[in-house]
Structure formats: C-alpha cells, structure tokens
C-alpha cells in the first residue's frame, strides 16, 4: 500500500520511512505561527514551568493580528506580553504593527511556508498552509508552548479523504464556492480527525490565493489538515519569496495511497454559494436565496482578504454605490499597499466603503465592524457560528468576495454574475 502526501510528510518529520493512518508519532516541527490571542498564555505557561526557552528562533513567526492595533486596554496588555517576549528572545521574524497582518495571509506572502514541512500555529485556520504541499494544523496554547520549547509534538497520523475538483469554474464562481459546497456535502464534522486532500483539473487552474481559500476552511469540516499537491503554480509563487531556508522537499501521494473517502465535485455545475447561519455547512446556491436583506458586508480575513479577492470585489463596486455598511479589510500591509497602488482603495472609497488597516478585527467579533442584535452580515470569512461577529442574536452569511460585493450594491443577497 502506498502513502498519501500527508503520511509522507509525517513520516519524514518523525524520522521514519513510513507511517500509517492512526499511528501516533512524535514529529519535529519546522515552523510555528504565533499570534496575539493564543501565544501570550503559552509564554506565561513556559515561564511558570521554568522552561522558558525557544527551540529555534528561525522557526517562529510572530504577528499580532486578532486585536491589532490594540482595541482596548486588555488587548494592549496581550500585545505588550507578546512584544516583550519576541524582543527578549530576539526572534528574527517578528512582524510589528505596521508590518503585522492576518497570520494566514502574512506567513505565505512573506515566504515562511515551505512544501514538505510540518507547520503548527496557535490558530485553527493554520490548515491554510496546506495549499503549499505542507502538513499544517492548528493547536492550542499548551501545545504551542510545548512546540516553542521543544520543537516536537505528538500527532495521530490522520486518515485521508480525497476531493477531486473536476471541470472548470464558471463566471462568478470561485474557490470559496467550491469549499462551501464541499462542507455542505460532508458537514462540519465530515472530516473530523482527517486530512482533506484536494486534487483535480479545476484545482490546477487556481492561483495560490484561491487554493489557500480552500485549505483555510478544512477546519470548518472538522479536518485536521487540508492539503494540495505541488505544481508549477506553487513553484512560481515560492520563487524569490522564501525567507531563510530556500530549499524544500516535494512529496506527492502514491497512486495506490489509501483514502477513507472520495468525492468528486463538478466545478462547472457550481453556482455562487451562500452559507446560512449558524454553520458553514448551511450552503445554498445564490439562486435559492436572492433578495434576503443584509445590514453589512464584510470583505477580508484569512479566507478572502488577499489582493485577488479585493480586485474581484473592486471590479463589482467600481462606479457603483453600496447600499449597506461595507467594510473592506486587506489582510496584510503589502496587500493594503497594493490595493492603494492599483487604485482599488479609491474604488472602495468612491463606492462608500470603509477601507481599513489589516486586522482580524470583525471576523471574530473583536472590533471594527461588530453586529447589533438582529443584524445580518454577508461576509467573506470562514465561520458563521452564533455570535461570531457580534451579538449572539446577529447572523453571518458566508460567501465569496464577488457575492459579498454584489450584496453590498443591492443591500440584499444578489447574484454576482449580473455584475461581471
């Protein structure tokens, strides 16, 4: 029996020639992502346990993002703890305010993600980096503390599920619609404890940005990791971008690798999707739900706050006026600058949007766009749980940047294909 790409990466990291799904392994960690919510407690734990060391400063990337710039005194204290630790430990990849951005957009953009590596982060959407043929998963603060101090974590090798993305995406249909369809099919725990591997011609046609939107949401199906094989698109994205170590190992799934589930999605048949409250699996084709009035549109986050997403949104908003509060948040400072240089910021301003500095902010109900009771928000984020963006009585509808922009223009759920 062959091995999947996930199994091969785990085997390599565990110093083994082969591993099987279900086995427990101790794996060496190649990269650790640290942000402002889960890392300060990890630092405190390390201090309390008298193991206040960093196994390898080159393998740690720090960026405040959830509540940055600090939204209140308490979050300022979190940032202060993060900042003094990063300075004390002389961490070379510490992104301070002004260069900090939404973690899962920032790390790949700044060249910290390499194929074949094991990456962990104190954030559930760490699975995003699997778009680069890496094993990447989210962990809590205690695991984070252990990883920072020792560089080793135990893992259960996940069984793999294969999703074949066939055909070609039609006009107005994006990778966000594909992943919402996958989650609609298998449910929010359909991939519990498993690796979600994405293959197929529609995937091959996608940019790295679009692929990241797919792997980003693997956790919304309960997945341990999402993963995409290496190809020329991956190579081109990485070339000239990698910081520190520039070589990497490419693994691919064997033809006879074991999968516990296989599913095929004909992407040519997909419509723009909207996931209704309060689960990402409540996807509906936009045709079934057009006309539902919204109060706010939010375009941003680690799912869809990259430059490609802002370009798509701007193409719809250009020369039009938004009917509802619309908040556009570039995920990183580089994206922010690109949006300004390309004239997108002006389009958003002219359309009547707020164009903010990079932050997670409203995505998790932190600040910069909180919803009141009874309000509805069309959002390009990844989660629409109760209270996710504010009041427990508010509602979040997940969609692509195009669908969010079309809804902003009409003030209600709308078909973006009428604007493209």
């Amino acid at each position: 029996m062959g091995m999947t790409i996930t199994e091969k990466i785990m085997a390599r990291a565990a110093g083994r020639t082969s591993v099987k799904a279900g086995e427990l392994v101790n794996a060496n960690v190649d990269m650790i992502m640290c942000h402002d919510v889960t890392t300060p407690p990890a630092i405190s734990m390390l201090r309390e346990h008298g193991v206040d060391n960093v196994f390898d400063p080159e393998k740690i990337v720090v960026t405040p993002d959830h509540f940055q710039p600090a939204k209140d005194i308490k979050s300022a204290e979190l940032h202060k703890r993060l900042d003094s630790w990063a300075k004390e430990k002389n961490l070379p990849y510490y992104y301070k305010l002004g260069r900090a951005g939404v973690c899962h957009a920032l790390l790949p953009e700044q060249g910290h993600i390499r194929p074949g590596e094991v990456i962990v982060g104190g954030d559930s959407h760490t699975c995003t980096y699997g778009a680069f043929a890496a094993f990447s998963t989210g962990i809590g603060s205690t695991d984070l503390a252990a990883a920072i101090a020792t560089g080793v974590l135990w893992f259960k090798v996940p069984a793999s599920m294969k999703f074949v993305l066939n055909g070609s995406l039609g006009k107005g249909v994006y990778s966000k619609d594909v992943i919402l369809e996958v989650i609609r099919r298998i449910g929010t725990d359909g991939a519990l404890y498993r690796a979600m591997e994405f293959v197929g011609p529609a995937l091959k046609e996608m940019t790295m940005e679009a692929r990241m939107t797919i792997t980003n949401m693997a956790i919304e199906a309960g997945g341990k990791n999402g993963i995409v094989g290496f190809d020329q698109t991956t190579k081109a994205y990485l070339s000239g971008r990698l910081k520190g170590k520039t070589d990497y190992t490419v693994f691919e799934s064997d033809a006879n690798a074991p999968y516990v589930h296989e599913d095929t999605i004909d992407c040519s048949k997909l419509e723009p999707m909207v996931a209704f409250p309060h689960l990402p699996s409540n996807g509906k084709a936009v045709g079934e739900c057009k006309g539902l009035a919204m109060d706010q549109a939010y375009i941003g986050s680690c799912t869809n706050g990259r430059i490609e997403d802002l370009r798509i949104a701007a193409s719809i908003l250009k020369g039009r006026q938004v009917k509802i509060r619309t908040i556009v948040v570039p995920a990183t400072p580089v994206i922010w600058k690109q949006a300004v240089d390309e004239g997108l910021a002006e389009i958003f301003y002219d359309a009547g949007c707020v164009f903010s500095a990079p932050t997670c902010g409203a995505c998790l109900g932190g600040f910069m766009g909180i919803l009141a009771a009874g309000e509805k928000c069309i959002s390009t984020t990844n989660r629409n749980f109760v209270g996710r963006m504010g009041s427990p009585k508010s509602e979040v509808y997940l969609a692509s940047p195009a669908t969010a922009a079309a809804a902003a223009v009409e003030g209600k759920l709308a078909d973006c294909r009428n604007y493209l």
Binding site: G140, S141, D143, A146, I219, G222, V386, R388
Partner: protein, 160 residues
C-alpha cells in the same frame, strides 16, 4: 453530587463556550464568568462545582482557543460528556489535564438534572437518578498519562 446540564445540541462551538469578545484576557477566573454564555446565559449561575455538561456530536468545534477549556475548568465544571469532540478542543482538554468523556448516545442516557457519579478508573458513569450504569471508552494510555500528570507541560517536565 454532580448534576448534569444537558444541551440537546451538536456542534456546540468555541464561540458559544467562550465568545471572542472575552479573548482579550487569558485569566481563567475572568473567563469562567462567561463560560457557555452564548449557549446559555444562565449556565454560570446554575452550575455548581463538579457539575457536568452533556452534549451531542462535535463538542468544541471551531477555534483553537484553549480559553474554552480554561473557562470550563475555571467554572469548576467536573466533566464534559459528548457523543464526540472536535479535534483541537479534545487535544486541548488532554493538554490541560481535563478528561473529555466520549460517549455515543449520551443524550439518550442522561437527562437534564440527573445526578451522576463518574469513575474514571473503571470508565463508568453511575446515573443515580435513572439508576443505571453507563460504560464509556477510557482515554488511550498515552493521553491518560498526560491527564494524570496534570497536563502536557507537567508531563514533559516529569519525563525529563
């Protein structure tokens, strides 16, 4: 005596267990005040130390915030029994020395208000109200050792 607080729900997520508006602190006492707030605003008032939360599938799905476990521990909840747990939450529980009890069919076996007695060694729950004994799958040994040591960091320290 531990009382069961039953929520007939699947996918009780970390945003309900501890909403992000309280994530600007990692103080367990502070977090405990808001434990389960977006699912049941009365929970903290109703729950006595040692009481048990009982839910359906996929408990703890969503964010990796260990704050969810700290809030539950801080509120002195004795145990969480669920049909199944989301992966990161499950792992966080073990890492914090908190035993997550996986029990398929829990919602049929335990009713709101039932008095429970949990024996972790035997892997049994005595439902005093219903006069039944329920078996659950004990944690695998490696995880049990971490829980017994009081969490992952204590465990690592002991091994050194």
């Amino acid at each position: 005596m531990a009382k069961a607080h039953v929520y007939k729900r699947d996918h009780v997520n970390t945003d309900e267990i501890i909403p992000a508006r309280y994530l600007n602190t990692d103080d367990a006492v502070e977090l405990a005040k808001h434990c389960m707030e977006d699912l049941d605003t009365d929970f903290v008032r109703k729950a006595k130390p040692g009481d048990v939360i009982v839910c359906g599938d996929d408990f703890g799905c969503g964010s990796s915030r260990e704050h969810a476990v700290w809030a539950i521990q801080g509120a002195k909840v004795g145990a969480v029994i669920a049909h199944s747990f989301a992966r990161i939450f499950y792992r966080n529980c073990i890492n914090c020395g908190f035993y997550p009890i996986e029990l398929p069919g829990a919602l049929d076996k335990i009713r709101d208000g039932d008095e429970l007695n949990i024996d972790y060694k035997d892997g049994t729950i005595e439902n005093k109200t219903q006069k039944t004994k329920i078996k659950f799958m004990p944690l695998p040994d490696f995880a049990l050792n971490i829980v017994r040591d009081g969490g992952l960091l204590e465990h690592i320290k002991k091994q050194k």
